[in-house]
């Protein structure tokens, strides 16, 4: 039961982590008009780069440069605003403090000071947002994989609940969602008891919408079959994968044929197995087996699809899922690597998708997200994909953002420490 071991370590990491989160959040809520000097330094460097790019663009157009400059212009703009506001601050403060300022001017200055502080706060927020790089899959559509963990039938039923929740959510938002794969433990109303379901959400940008849903979702309720009325706990794992477009895009990272890209899958590495007819095959039998199983040999990633009567369609779907899983796994590995560096330098841990992220408690009719700390008491609305689910998801997105900013600061600091160490070494050599 690998999931259980996963859960146990998850809980441990989580306690230790939530202390950090709380501390971080408390500094955020007081929201001082100042911004971390580290971030400011980074913003200045990027703004300088933007200025340089603009200068070069003036003397000759280049799509690549223009694209880069475009992506930096938001940082430059926010920084400009922040600096303008920040520069006018001392003068205003002086005016307000100065006894000789006449009453009318002082009241004007006080108003001005208040609005400048507001601007400062809003620009620092902008700065933070623009500094955090967009997730590389953010603009893609996505696949949501739902799989029961420990807990037998209860987990399978809860997996069905989650599937319904996401489908309803999509319906309400006008997002097109189709079941790409459904393995059910029951032959009848199969969407209730799930062994594995993959929902394809076919709209660009939905990866970013659902990214916050990845992780272990836990249910606490009394199963219908439980005579003594005891509450059971079971878990379902949700994975959110990038749905890679059929055609490779122009931006390098989307490239199927580029061996260095996250999306590249060498067909030589993939073994295809189809159900073989027993015996001679060919004209001797008229089997209906259409299952296709792909195995990515280097990583031993296995995808099996048997939903359609068409082997051709099953194969296409299996490739779609395989590509998505590999791209996500590669991204995870990369993030893990960076996170390890961060831990070694500044001790900021990362929350992996193996962690328990949310609890749905039937008895108390509540849902708690363990990352943002939000608790909502309208379980039904959440399970119907209603606006309460928006609130939960939004809170997690906020949390993700603060984590990203935290990580950014950590990276900058690590970078600085490295530079300092290097220059010290250099000095020693002198």
């Amino acid at each position: 039961m690998t999931l259980w071991t996963g859960l146990r370590t998850a809980v441990r990491v989580n306690c230790h982590q939530s202390a950090r989160i709380r501390r971080y959040q408390s500094t955020l809520t007081t929201s001082p008009p100042s911004i971390s000097p580290t971030l400011l330094g980074r913003a200045r460097a990027l703004a300088a780069e933007h200025a340089e790019l603009s200068r070069r663009l003036n003397s000759g157009y280049d799509t690549k440069l223009a694209k880069k400059a475009g992506s930096l212009s938001a940082v430059a703009e926010a920084l400009n605003g922040w600096e303008a506001a920040n520069n006018s601050l001392p003068e205003l403060q002086q005016l307000v403090k100065d006894q000789s300022t006449d009453a009318e001017l002082r009241s004007l200055a006080e108003e001005e000071l208040a609005s400048t502080r507001e601007k400062l706060a809003s620009y620092s927020k902008d700065l933070q947002t623009t500094l955090v790089p967009q997730h590389p899959f953010a603009e893609m559509s996505c696949l949501i994989e739902i799989r029961p963990g420990a807990g037998g039938d209860e987990a399978a039923l809860f997996a069905g609940d989650l599937l319904r929740m996401y489908r309803d959510f999509c319906k309400r938002k006008g997002l097109h969602a189709t079941l790409l794969k459904l393995d059910s433990t029951a032959a009848i109303t199969s969407e209730d008891m799930i062994q594995e379901a993959i929902l394809e959400i076919d709209a660009p940008g939905t990866y970013d919408v659902f990214r916050c849903e990845a992780g272990v979702h836990r249910v606490q309720r009394v199963p219908a079959t439980e005579i003594k009325g005891r509450t059971h706990t079971s878990a379902v794992s949700v994975m959110v994968l990038p749905n890679i477009p059929e055609q490779s895009g122009q931006n390098g990272e989307n490239d199927f044929d580029d061996p260095t890209s996250d999306y590249f899958v060498d067909s030589k590495d993939v073994r295809t197995d189809v159900m073989r007819a027993r015996g001679a095959g060919g004209q001797h039998v008229n089997t209906t087996d259409s299952a296709v199983r792909l195995t990515h040999l280097p990583t031993n990633t296995v995808v099996a699809i048997q939903d359609s009567r068409s082997q051709h369609k099953n194969r296409a779907k299996a490739w779609q899922v395989l590509r998505a899983r590999l791209a996500q796994a590669r991204r995870d590995a990369r993030e893990e690597e960076i996170a390890q560096l961060r831990i070694s330098v500044v001790g900021v841990a990362r929350m992996g998708r193996e962690n328990k992220v949310r609890t749905y408690n039937w008895g108390q009719q509540r849902v708690t997200d363990h990352r943002s700390g939000i608790t909502m008491h309208n379980l039904d609305d959440i399970l119907e994909g209603g606006e309460s689910l928006d609130k939960v998801m939004d809170s997690v997105k906020e949390w993700l953002k603060t984590k990203d900013i935290e990580a950014l600061i950590a990276d900058e600091e690590a970078e600085r420490t490295k530079l300092e160490a290097n220059s010290k070494k250099a000095n020693q050599h002198d």
């Binding site: 009848i188 295809t272 369609k313």
Partner: protein, 356 residues
């Protein structure tokens, strides 16, 4: 047929009352589940929305009952996916097999991996049945050829097959190129007049480039000894499975009783001077016998055997060439994994396509 374990049957019944019926034919639970789901979907798609659930359930029960007696699912549902196509199926005409699907797909890929494929191609499919091979070949080839003129001619002795093939042509038009031609003709390929006719048709201006065929290849012996499934024997046309020709007599060796069509197919290929000859076979033993026939005739520059999965296995997992002893002591190249499934021969000028 071994009895199914009662415990499994009980489990199936627990899941759905109709599952044990399907289980009887499918022999394993996942397939039975899939078939039940496809049957239910079929009923939802075809039933009038006003029909009460009880009628629908009754209908589902009837279909499961038919299936439990061995009626092929493809005849019940009326179709079989073949590559990216949907081929209509009817009792009286052989259901297209996944092996034929893979063979046709691999042939198309092989042809396309040889860049200077001429824009005009003539393909002859003998014993075409539902017309599945011409339709799939066409749909796979035309998107990669600029201004394609792909002429495909399908022949079958069965009038039922010919009318179904024409329906299938119509059913799949959206996968086909408008400027190309696919035609079907009812004929006996052993008929000399027919051969003369088709020979006259190909003039000096053009030749048949490819002859492909999935002829009846099961020997009377293999038809009755248990290696042919009950559902096939009871529900599919015997004329599509077991060769019946004037030259066959029951005193012939039992194992070669399925070979009757290959000499005739080779003869036609020689008369028409086709560039590429592709025939499906039952197994490796038959494949080797057909290779022997090809070599006897000379005229062919190369010949090889494709297994069920020609692209798999081999030295680096790409279906690399494997050497096997031929019947006459000469080596035969065999590609891929699985059962021996096709013999491919080519004339001068086509070696570049197949030897790569």
């Amino acid at each position: 047929m071994p009895r199914l374990p009662t415990s499994l049957l009980r489990r199936a019944r627990h899941e759905h009352s109709l599952l044990p019926l399907l289980f009887r034919t499918c022999r394993d639970l996942p397939s039975a589940r899939n078939e039940l789901r496809w049957l239910r979907e079929h009923i939802l798609e075809t039933a009038s929305p006003k029909s009460p659930p009880s009628t629908r359930h009754q209908r589902l029960y009837e279909l499961c009952l038919q299936r439990s007696k061995g009626k092929p699912l493809q005849y019940i549902l009326g179709s079989q996916p073949f590559g990216n196509l949907e081929i209509l199926c009817k009792p009286g005409v052989l259901i297209p097999r996944p092996e034929t699907d893979l063979l046709t797909t691999h042939l198309a890929q092989t042809l396309l991996s040889y860049p200077p494929l001429p824009p005009t191609i003539h393909i002859l499919d003998l014993c075409t049945g539902t017309g599945c091979i011409p339709l799939l070949l066409h749909s796979l080839l035309h998107p990669s050829i600029p201004h394609p003129h792909i002429h495909i001619h399908g022949i079958d002795i069965s009038p039922l097959a010919m009318s179904l093939a024409r329906k299938n042509l119509h059913h799949n038009t959206r996968h086909l190129h408008p400027s190309s031609q696919i035609s079907f003709q009812q004929a006996d390929i052993f008929d000399t007049e027919w051969l003369n006719g088709i020979k006259a048709e190909s003039s000096k201006k053009w030749k048949w480039d490819i002859l492909i065929s999935n002829p009846p290849y099961i020997s009377p012996h293999a038809f009755n000894n248990g290696s042919t499934a009950r559902s096939v024997r009871n529900y599919e046309p015997k004329i599509a499975l077991v060769p019946t020709t004037p030259t066959y007599s029951s005193t012939d060796a039992p194992e070669t009783g399925g070979d009757m069509f290959y000499p005739r197919l080779l003869h036609i290929a020689n008369e028409l001077q086709v560039g590429v000859f592709v025939v499906e076979v039952a197994d490796m033993a038959q494949a080797k016998r057909v290779v022997g026939m090809v070599r006897e005739r000379g005229a062919w520059e190369g010949v090889e055997v494709w297994r069920d999965f020609p692209e798999q296995g081999g030295r680096d997992g790409t279906g690399e060439v494997v050497e096997v002893d031929g019947r006459d002591g000469r080596d035969v190249r065999v590609r891929g994994e699985g059962e021996g499934r096709a013999v491919v021969a080519w004339r001068e000028g086509w070696g570049g396509v197949f030897e790569g």
